[in-house]
Amino acid sequence: MNEYRQEFSNSFFFNRKNALFVENLNAKYENINILENISFYVPNGSLCAIVGPNGAGKSTLLKSILGLHKSRNEDILFWNDTYSKFKDYIAYVPQKKSVDWNFPINVFDIVSSGVYDITRKFSFFMSYDDEILVENAMKTVGIEKLYDCHINELSGGQQQKVFIARAFAQNAYLYLMDEPFAGLDEMSMKKIFDVFKTFKKENRTLIAVHHDLKTLKDYFDWIILIKKNIIYFGPIDIEGISEKIESVFK
């Protein structure tokens, strides 16, 4: 995996201004407009929260950015370039409902799928480097003892940690996460955010749908307020941000 990723060095990501740039994104579900004229950018190395009420289009926004939901006429640029160029540097944590929980798979298999490489997908065995990546990712979120457990035997919070570990194993530079902290206790959440804070120093970017308004300012430095349209995007530590957030939920 590391050999495959030599194409872009760490300094490449340091030199880019924005990790994500979206302009004029519109999305529909069966003729109902879910997102209208969405335009925003997320600076490289920021911890960005997408906040909005239920049905505001947060998950659709993430899916549209990644091309999982068809949208039209938009410009979506990752580090000033297209998704296909950087797909190996982008990790996605989906909502829990999009996964088949009855599938016979254990924790190690899920986390290690983060390092499956398109060029080596026929190989049965992982390289030593990949194994270290997977082990470290599991240790980081504290699920190393659960490696042999079936995914369905885990609690909601543990399941969530497995997906975060898979994203960490991908060793990405942009993490797109759909409600990644749902079901996580405060300590686990803090531990995972400590990792993201170290990622920030490496100019890695997190964009997460977040529901806990109390912890917003503690963990994130950039915010996208959404309710079908963009209500606000920018730094979280500006004056009057609390009022803006409240207005979205009214």
Partner: protein, 275 residues
């Protein structure tokens, strides 16, 4: 004596077919496409019948090509109904199955009225009869089975991801949808290859049962595949040998009966254990 001389060939064929059937069964069960096995087999009937009407030949190659093509069309049609007409999975599968089987039965009626020579071959596809299996072309069939098994074996990681987390798989693997199609076409091919042995009406049991039994017994996809292959091979060899020993019994139902007996045995054993 002639029948007994076929036994080594039959055992080799059973093992060769057991492998891809085991892989396919596991894949269809975890993908929640179990009914697809039934659709593929039933939808092959019009292809087989009309190929026979067109070529008026007993050559199974043409019949198999017809069967494979009509099964592919049926699978595409059922997915189109699901995707663009928002039909539930079971409704679209059931609908397509009945449509294609009806077309097939119309073809059989035409055949019977036209009194075309060699019609017995169509019956062997419907009910399964190992004695009508053309052993002269056994080698290319074994090669196809081997090739399909290899395809399934080397795509296990992709199968896991396509099934468990389709979003992740479509993001991570550029060709995940292509792999899905390739595995389905391989599945259709192997089902059509087995039709002459097990029969259109019963192959559904053989496609679904090994995977379901294996899934009940294990929590690992790898182990599930191994168990499923074992059950498939056991069913083929058991069915063929019992059919040879008691020649009045047809091969198809016997092959389909063995996984049912295994399922009953496992259920009974579990019941006793719980008691």
């Amino acid at each position: 004596m002639l029948i007994y001389s076929l036994i080594p060939n039959l055992i080799i064929l059973s093992i060769a077919i057991g492998f891809p059937i085991g892989f396919l069964s596991s894949y269809l069960v975890v993908r929640r496409w179990s009914l697809l096995g039934d659709i593929i087999s039933h939808a092959s009937l019009p292809g087989i019948t009309y190929s026979f009407l067109f070529y008026k030949s007993n050559n199974t190659f043409y019949l198999l090509i017809g069967g494979i093509l009509s099964s592919i069309v049926s699978v595409i049609l059922s997915f189109i109904l699901q995707k663009y007409k928002n039909l539930p999975k079971d409704s679209s599968f059931g609908l397509v199955l009945s449509w294609f089987f009806t077309f097939g039965m119309i073809g059989i009626s035409i055949l019977q009225k036209a009194n075309v020579e060699g019609q017995y071959i169509i019956n062997s596809f419907i009910f399964g009869n190992i004695l009508t299996f053309p052993f002269k072309d056994i080698y290319w069939k074994i090669f196809i089975c081997f090739f399909i098994s290899i395809l399934f074996l080397f795509s296990i990681k992709i199968q896991k991801m396509i099934t468990f987390d389709p979003c992740f798989s479509s993001l991570r693997y550029k060709y995940s949808e292509l792999w899905d199609c390739l595995l389905l076409v391989s599945g259709i091919t192997i089902i059509c290859l087995c039709l002459q042995i097990v029969g259109i009406l019963l192959i559904g049991t053989l496609i679904i049962s090994p995977g379901v039994i294996a899934k009940v017994l294990t929590n690992s996809y790898g182990k599930m595949i191994l168990l499923s292959i074992f059950i498939s091979i056991l069913s083929f060899i058991g069915g063929v040998i019992i059919s040879m020993r008691f020649t009045f019994l047809p091969t198809g139902p016997l092959i389909a009966l063995i996984p049912i007996l295994i399922a009953i045995f496992i259920a009974f054993k579990r019941y006793l254990k719980e008691k």
